[in-house]
Symmetry: C2
Subunit: 293 residues, 2 copies
């Protein structure tokens, strides 16, 4: 499985659709639309949409069936980054190698650009009913429950609240599962649902996504210590500076790497029921823990 | 038509449902859920959900068909108030007679509570497919297009950008239409759709909602000058202090009152095709421009 070739084949269509579903930067109010485009066009790994598209293919569906959910996932993920970077939150000035949205467009426009991207994600899903036998709103329901106060937003709230407190394994696990895990799991499930997964396929994708999400976040914790701003496109060492709950703070670098690899192996181990069409997902599990940015 | 009696009859069921669909304030992360409940339970006129419920009845549908859309509208409206009040936006310390959410729970929790309420609105609509012949995602589509960068968020962006600039009729009209008008129109349309409106009924509700939204916002501009903090539950005179584009700044108090009443009359004039079941909507049009808070 040649993952770089697979990603390179996905990318042009996906990036074109990502740009096409945003209002033009010249449309009123131009500053808001420019801020939305700036934030989305910053690049990034596009991990969540890739997982969504690959999951649709893994269950035998056409890739295009998962395009709107994939776009919704990336718009939603981008909104979380914009809001996380705000001065009242993580106060990060750099994102994807460029000024964070609030540094480039001001704080009010950054808040509003995030709000608008979150709303746009659900606008796209309103146009993408899930195929039978799923209820038509299932894709939006997956995203909303993963992203809301019982998911990403709840995880971010606890992440901030726990800053400076003594490292706590249970608290860390809850933060990781909510802040990162839920959305990555949802990306896999949404792709499966859009691709018409039967129950056993969806169950396999759910386990895969859950383990992958944790592996991915632990690797994020490691890279925040070991990477460079040039490679990562954002500040490094910021977790320690803010005394955040991280896997590295709790268990050290080497144990974190070992655990991330073990979780990636568990993610891969969930895939056999999906057959050979899940090869890109297996490769993505390896990538999640061997990446350098 | 006894509007106070009508509202009093709606209120208990609606308020109970509004509380029931929020996570308990004790559920993890408790501070986030407490902030969400604090913001929603602040009271307010509940105009948008009332319009939604009354619109469903006006087209002959059962009121309960519009309950989830009505809740979604109020959660979404509450999120816009939380974010509008933030220091980076309108910097208002008082809302509905109590400290604004960011004063009571801190800025980060206020941003996150707003994000979570916006997400919750779409979670509810994911469970509320529109009745045939509407596409199942129609209710979510109505809300998303009204609330996003081409609606409420766009209006708020321009409202902030225009502060301090010379009053401009076209700019003011665009701000009013987007910041307030779109969501009030959507409230009426969503109620109609949930109630199974035929095309002519939905067209009538659309005109009604559009005129009512403008009448309501002009009355807001008037009350920001003429009311008291005790009555309004928030600061008065703040529009002038921030040199916002308002109807009053452009045309003066008396012309604003006259225009608001004319728009309310136009809203009422759209209702005859709906017959006697639209009596509450007619009374709400009068209320929108005669209210004192």
């Amino acid at each position: 499985m040649d993952l770089p070739a697979y990603l390179a084949a996905l990318r042009p269509d996906f990036e074109a659709a990502l740009a096409a579903h945003l209002p033009p930067a010249t449309e009123w109010p131009a500053r808001l639309h420019a801020a939305m485009r700036y934030s989305v066009e910053g690049g990034g790994k596009r991990l969540r949409p890739v997982l969504c598209l690959a999951s649709a293919e893994a269950v035998g569906g056409p890739r295009r069936a998962a395009m709107l959910p994939a776009l919704a996932l990336e718009y939603l993920h981008t909104y979380t980054l914009i809001h996380d970077d705000l001065p009242a939150m993580d106060n990060d000035d750099l994102r994807r190698g460029r000024p964070a949205t609030h540094k480039a467009f001001g704080e009010a426009n950054a808040i509003l650009a995030g709000d608008a991207l979150l709303t746009l994600a659900f606008e796209l899903l309103a146009r993408a009913p899930a195929p039978a036998p799923y209820p038509p709103g299932q894709l939006a329901l997956e995203l909303a429950t993963a992203a809301g106060s019982r998911g990403v937003v709840g995880g971010q709230c606890e992440d901030l609240a726990a800053e400076g407190d003594a490292p706590d394994p249970e608290r860390l696990a809850a933060i990781h599962a909510h802040k990162t895990g839920r959305l990555i799991r949802a990306a896999c499930r949404m792709g499966g649902i859009a691709g018409g997964a039967v129950a056993a396929q969806l169950a396999a994708l759910t386990v895969y996504g859950e383990q992958l999400g944790l592996a991915f976040q632990i690797t994020d914790d490691v890279l925040n210590v070991t990477s460079s701003p040039a490679e990562l496109g954002k500040a490094v060492g910021s977790d320690a500076a803010r005394r955040k709950q991280t896997y590295v703070a709790l268990y050290g670098l080497e144990a974190s790497r070992v655990h991330a690899r073990a979780l990636a192996a568990e993610a891969r181990a969930a895939l056999p029921p999906l057959g050979p069409r899940a090869a890109p997902l297996a490769a993505l599990a390896d990538y999640a823990v061997t990446r350098t940015a």
